[in-house]
Amino acid sequence: MSVLRLHPQKCTGCLRCELACSYMQTGEFQPAKSVIRVSPFEGHTSYAPYTCTQCAEGWCMTACPVGAITINAVGAKDVLDDKCVGCKLCTIACPYGTMFYDPGTRKAFKCNLCGGAPACAEACPTAAITYEDVATADWLGDFAVERTARVLAEAR
């Protein structure tokens, strides 16, 4: 299956992916509703996007008490709005922090790979997000270690 592959060293922090994602999710531009989030590293000099890795374990699916999380046609875990009761268990279960809860709709929401044409990958001007047929992985670990080393050293 194809997944979103993240290349954090290419990210410039322009947040274009958040805009594109929120438009796909809500029809409006509202980064607070985006399911891809750009985080700063080293305080402000480096940025990296992060979103659901579509992990094999599927913690969110396992945790959901009402079976509202399913696997869609392109292999992404997706929330079925009519089944979700808004209990937020999935947001607790997800070890990556990529399950979100919308207090407006009282539903959980997450990356569903836009049904096979992810808007974030299309929108990224530096190809820091690509949609590829590769095994999913922890794309950010090494980058985060390297880029926060300076901050941690200063904090000590």
Binding site: R16, A32, P125, T126
Partner: protein
């Protein structure tokens, strides 16, 4: 983000105000009264949005309406509590057009004591719009230092006494700590020591390296005792009338910037190529306009100033503004020398010239460091170049002594320049005189020292070029009402009926060209978009605006809007006491290059004729400086014609 993928959003939500409010707008203006310590949202309507757009369009009108004194015959001065500080975005801010984090600052500035329009980017505009506001209007004067905190509907004036004395980067760091946020989650625009101490060319700096630099807007903020504006990335949504159209227009603009010959180098390297390119035209300012030969700068090797080498000299990372795909703004880590390991903002061309060539410095690491020191202190890097270069020349020639200054400052001494910068930003010793800016300091010293100083008689200074071989901009800067260029460089001039090229040293052609390009700059600066990402066809920008708002906005509408805004700013400038006699370059600024590509080209010999032509072309009265009644009526400004000309109109 191709349109095909955006045709079927998961769920379409419309807000209840969607039918009345044009797309692209948050819908509220935030009025902050520092004297009364009140903050309140003022909704604004569709007619006003259509008329003023945002940015300088909105700011110019607020200044005209709200800073009058003596029954409309005069104007409040920059340091008066009734002066307004307008921090405005525009209808495209926060939308996925490249470079749309835009901020325009409009105020009665400390440099010219007249209107200002100066821009910066980053995420100010984005965060503000997502909090639900299109602009902030600051008035009054606080007793104690405060900063403005905005988080959706929570708007507070918070105690900033602990931030006083911090530079702008330290201030942003301190506010990150205080709020527990980082990166673009919190946009901070602040002043450093120069703003606190009312340096006449203090700037407002934000988001690590973005600067609204002109006309001492930082001094206005300092006078109001407003240390910073901190905006949390809000949670509200922005609607576009035709979102797919916005994305399509954004793609067209992006494609043009990536591929058009005039924009491509900017796309790849930002303004870095300016150094080498302008040096070949004689427009790189070298050692306070004393020469135009790079070989006169010690240690200068132009091969290492080519854009790729300039960037690769540093460990660099992209640091783009909202939704931007340009490879323009970067953060750099210095690799060599005694500042090794320091994080700096990659200087713009203006930084390389102001902290480098203008002061005879060609050490790239040192120049990059000094440039960030200017940002941190919050001084305009252009004026810093003219001021520091002037002091260096005056000391070399004996007009300013070592005893006066307190130390010896020679050409290219970056560390000495920083020492001077700290003196100026804290008004220490001789720095107190220099803090008044180039013009006032030069007049104070008088004699031959004054003859060496680069300034405009209004009290402003030029941007970072040698305008003696860029006549359009010298004329534009001198005739401008906003203390910096008002018309700007030509972008696809044939699109608006202007020639593709002119003879740059033919005063008549130059004056007609500057007048003919009028309007576009003020329009762009009203949208919340970056000057560099708008270096595309005006038609595309209008298309983006139309798709965002739902209006049918044409190129003609854009030019008309821009001219109208410029006319309103002109009316405010006249009320501030600006006259035609101030529309002249200083002796050095208007001098004739002694060497280099533009050697012998004498602008002063043609200046009067250029002014005559410009006035005739823009439809202003040469004697009084006022826009003629006919001009104003053609722009739909009958009310302004009555204000300026009384019953005669």
């Amino acid at each position: 983000m191709t349109p095909a993928t955006l045709t079927a959003p998961k769920q379409l939500k419309t807000t209840s105000t969607a039918t009345t409010r044009p797309g692209g707008y948050a819908g509220n203006l935030l009025r902050v009264d520092l004297t009364r310590r009140t903050c309140r949202a003022e909704p604004w309507g569709p007619e006003m949005m259509r008329e003023l757009l945002g940015g300088v369009g909105l700011g110019a009108m607020i200044l005209y309406r709200e800073t009058a004194a003596k029954g409309g015959k005069g104007n409040v001065s920059w340091d008066h509590p009734d002066n307004r500080l307008v921090l405005a975005t525009g209808p495209l801010a926060g939308l996925p057009v490249w470079g749309t984090g835009g901020l325009t600052v409009c105020t009665i500035g400390a440099g010219t004591n007249g209107p200002t329009s100066t821009q910066a980017n980053g995420f100010f505009g984005t965060n503000l719009k997502y909090c639900g506001y299109d602009a902030i209007m600051v008035q009054g004067q606080s007793k104690d230092w405060v900063y403005l905190y905005i988080n959706d509907d929570v708007v507070e004036l918070r105690d900033a006494r602990s931030l006083v004395g911090l530079d702008t980067w330290e201030t942003q760091g301190a506010l990150y700590k205080e709020t527990g946020l980082a990166g673009h989650q919190l946009s901070v625009y602040s002043i450093g020591p120069a703003g606190e101490n009312l340096v006449r060319f203090a700037a407002i700096q934000g988001d690590y390296g973005h600067v609204a630099s002109k006309n001492g807007c930082g001094a206005v903020m300092g006078k109001k005792r407003l240390k910073a504006v901190a905006i949390v990335k809000g949670t509200k949504s922005l609607r576009a009338a035709d979102p797919r159209g916005v994305v399509q227009a954004a793609e067209e603009i992006a494609h043009d910037l990536r591929t058009d010959a005039s924009a491509r180098s900017l796309y790849e390297y930002g303004t870095l190529p300016g150094v080498v390119n302008l040096s070949k035209m004689g427009a790189l300012p070298i050692k306070n306009y004393t020469t135009n030969l790079t070989s006169n700068v010690a240690g200068a090797d132009m091969s290492v100033w080519e854009a790729p080498k300039l960037r690769e000299n540093f460990d660099h990372r992209g640091h783009q503004c909202n939704a931007c795909g340009m490879h323009h703004c970067h953060m750099s880590v210095i690799r060599h020398g005694d500042q090794k390991g320091k994080i700096v903002d990659e200087p713009e061309y203006e930084g390389w010239s102001g902290c480098g060539w203008a002061i005879g410095a060609a050490d790239r690491d040192g120049v990059a460091w000094l440039n960030t020191q200017c940002d941190r202190a919050c001084v305009d890097v252009n004026e810093w170049g003219w001021l520091c270069g002037w002091v260096m020349e005056c000391q070399e020639k004996g007009y300013i002594t070592k005893e006066q200054l307190g130390f010896e400052l020679k050409w290219g001494d970056v560390k000495g320049s920083n020492r001077l910068l700290q003196m100026v930003s804290r008004r220490e010793g001789f720095g107190n005189i220099l803090a008044e800016g180039v013009k006032r300091a030069a007049e104070k010293l008088g004699g031959p020292a004054k003859e060496c100083a680069i300034y405009i008689e209004k009290g402003a200074t030029p941007r970072g070029h040698d305008h003696r071989s860029r006549w359009e901009e010298m004329l534009d800067t001198c005739t401008s009402s906003t203390a910096t260029m008002e018309t700007g460089n030509p972008v696809h001039p044939t699109e608006i009926g202007q020639p593709a090229r002119i003879n740059p040293f033919d005063g008549e052609q130059v004056a007609k060209y500057v007048a003919g390009l009028r309007g576009r700059r003020s329009f762009e600066d009203s949208l919340g978009i970056c000057i560099f990402t708008s270096r595309t066809r005006l038609e595309y920008i209008c298309r983006a605006l139309s798709a965002a708002t739902g209006w049918a906005f044409t190129v003609d509408d854009a030019l008309r809007f821009g001219k109208r805004t410029a006319a309103i700013n002109r009316a405010t400038a006249l009320r501030c006491g600006h006259t035609g006699a101030m529309e002249y370059p200083s002796t050095r600024y208007g001098s004739t290059p002694v060497d280099g590509p533009a050697k012998g080209q004498a602008i002063r010999a043609q200046w009067e004729k250029m002014l005559d032509t410009w006035y005739a072309e823009v439809g202003f009265d040469r004697k009084t400086g006022k826009p003629l009644p006919k001009t104003l009526k053609e722009l739909g400004l009958e009310w302004l014609a009555r204000d300026l000309w009384g019953k005669k109109a």
